[in-house]
Amino acid sequence: MPVDQKRINGPESSVPYNIYIHSEIKNKGIQPDAPKRHDGRSNNELRNIFLKTGIISQAKGSAYIEMGNTKIICSVFDPREVPNKTGYCVQGELFCEFKFAPFSHHKRKMHQQDAEEKEYSLILQRALEPAVCLQEFPNFQVDVYATVLDNGGSALAAAIMAASLALANAGVPMFGLVTASTVGIYDHTYLVDPTDTEETFCCTKSVPGTVHNHGIIIQAALPQHGQISEMFVVGSVDTDTIVHSMDLISEAHKDICPLLEQCLVKTVFKTFRPNIKKTDTK
């Protein structure tokens, strides 16, 4: 691998210490049949969500989301001309960049975007595009940057929500808010809003020779219009399972959407209150 001249480089190869943890401690993980999950939730329960907008003063719009341990910060900037573009384009574009901070994952992430992050960037873009009135800024692109500070599972879904809040905060014309949620599937267990350990569990663990369902489904939707803006399945699941988890997810969307709305209402109040005070003093 070529040496990155623009950064301070450590040793050529290093290994995380977690892999040397004794295997007995490692595997105490997850029982799919247990009545409660390892963090005390029931299978259909979402984690608490904390939302805040306007967290980055330098950006046009920004949002911060916390779902359990997952922490994501997202910012949106003014439209700029699409670079390297010849000819006129009727629709504007969204440019999304999704990045895990190097320390956000249990395995250290490199500074350059890897294949997973590139894929997630594309998913983020496709999840948001149906919600943004792209015809309002022809030939221009809006930049959306999402950075995962701490990955506690369901990072992509949280990033989609943060990005939609940031877009709304930036005043980009939109058809509606985008919500997203994740379901982890293991056999007949559906884990809504899985944590990172549950995610890896659902993704990799499978008894060879059996036909267990396992996988992860992420769905982004515009709940105000009842439309699905992005669907992402990975694993090995049959169509009935997908249909069932879509029902679960749409339930979750109904719970999440008011939270985002409330957060935006609060932002509006916050932007107007200081003005009111100022006029009072005048």
Binding site: A115, S206, M231, V233, V234, G235, V237, D238, T239, M246
Partner: protein
């Protein structure tokens, strides 16, 4: 209620004389008066039959008397219309037709009135009906014709296929002797994809010591479309390789442990290189099928001796090129793109069809009907019910594609190594 009043008049007409011919010889004092019209108004039966005696067959055999003939003549005369007849009582038209009918009849009434001086009443009446009915008929025929012609319900596409039909797929394997496995796939003589599989010995990842590595590289060559020049194809290439790696990610599909040689020390690293030679729509399906075909004929050299020599691994690979392990493709998925155009779903879209669709779904289906990955593409959004329908369509098509691919590959395999290479320039 003028109508019933008129009836009354008819009944009253010449009542005492006409009603009772001498056949009955009835005394005048028992002649019944005019019938009780109150019963009639309630829809009751007529008080008597106008056919009278002749209604009965036996009576008819008696023949008519002169009196009766006179009576009949009188009646026939009465049937003749006077020049001022028929008299349409005022309000009759309004009573007979409801406002809607009156509205749509109005233009043709006018036409009829205009024609009447030339054609007479009957002529105008017939002409009016023939003209209007023909017009309606022609209009209906046109509607049906245009509906069938411009509505996708015909299930016919520009190139003559139906919605769920693939273009012809040509596949050729083992055409690169230097690769461990290779395949070339063409869809409809336009989309052209070349896949080569290479194996190398590598050290496994520290966190997965007993697993090999599988990597997909996609190269969108600039001669496929001018849009791929420079970095233009990079996004598409990432997209394709990501879809592939997601489709093969689960251990149900591809167990990376079969690529392990010595845990912690050595494993096979499999490079699947995909070269896109020409792009005519539906790249994902083409690449998916081509990769599956290339993996089908991939031959992993047999490791005959793997020992740890003082901590350092020592590996000997069999010299015999025929001594090799083949991969089991019965679990490998094929990729299906379901393209939504208008209200319909289309399989194997051409470039034009791709450019008119706002949403398409790319899914990989295993031969046992399970979905290993699914991604939505395009800037549009979907209703949940539509998505489920697309999912079902994609699954069915995927199963069929898997089946067909398996059959073809087995047939080609039977030809053995002596099969002539067709190559590229045919």
């Amino acid at each position: 209620m003028e109508f019933t009043n008129q009836n009354k008049e008819i009944f009253a007409f010449d009542w005492s004389k006409a009603r009772f011919p001498n056949v009955f010889k009835m005394a005048p004092h028992i002649v019944p008066g005019p019938p009780n019209t109150t019963a009639l108004e309630g829809g009751g039966e007529r008080p008597m039959n106008i056919v009278r005696r002749v209604g009965r067959e036996r009576e008819r055999m008696l023949g008519m008397t002169d009196e009766e003939r006179a009576w009949r003549k009188k009646w026939l005369d009465a049937q003749k219309l006077a020049p001022e007849e028929p008299v349409t009582p005022p309000g009759y038209y309004k009573e007979m037709f409801n406002p809607i009918r009156r509205f749509y009849k109005a233009p043709m009434n006018k036409v009829q009135n205009m024609m009447e001086p030339f054609l007479g009443y009957t002529g105008a009446y017939v002409a009016r009906h023939v003209i209007s009915k023909t017009a309606i008929g022609i209009f209906t025929v046109y509607c049906i014709f245009y509906h069938l012609k411009y509505n996708k319900m015909l299930d016919l596409r520009n190139d003559g296929r139906s919605r769920c039909q693939y273009r012809s797929i040509e596949i050729e394997t083992r055409l690169m002797p230097h690769a461990h496995g290779s395949a070339r796939l063409r869809i409809g003589n336009i989309t052209d994809v070349l896949v080569g599989v290479k194996l190398e010995i590598d050290t496994p990842y520290a966190e997965k010591p007993d697993e090999g590595k599988l990597d997909f590289f996609v190269d969108c060559s600039a001669n496929a479309t001018p849009a791929f020049e420079g970095k233009g194809g990079d996004d598409l290439a990432t997209e394709i390789s990501n879809v592939l790696s997601m489709a093969y990610q689960t251990p149900d599909v591809f167990d990376l442990r079969q690529l392990c040689i010595i845990p912690h020390k050595k494993c096979w690293k499999m490079y699947v290189d995909i070269l896109i030679l020409q792009c005519g729509g539906n790249l994902f399906d083409a690449v998916g099928a081509a990769v599956k075909a290339a993996l089908y004929n991939t031959e992993i050299p047999k490791v005959i001796a793997a020992t740890l020599d003082g901590g350092e691994p020592d590996i000997q690979v069999s010299d015999d090129p025929y001594d090799c392990i083949k991969l089991d493709i019965t679990t490998y998925p094929s990729i299906v793109t379901v393209c939504k155009i208008g209200d319909n779903f289309v399989i194997d879209p051409t470039l034009e069809e791709e450019s008119c669709s706002a949403v398409n779904i790319i899914m990989s289906v295993m031969p046992n009907g399970k979905v290993t990955s699914m991604v939505k593409q395009g800037y549009g959004s979907l209703l949940p019910t539509t998505l489920i329908k697309m999912l079902e369509v994609g699954k069915d098509i995927g199963l069929k594609l898997n089946e067909a691919l398996k059959k073809t590959l087995e047939e080609e395999d039977k030809l053995g190594r002596t099969k002539p290479l067709c190559g590229f320039l045919r």
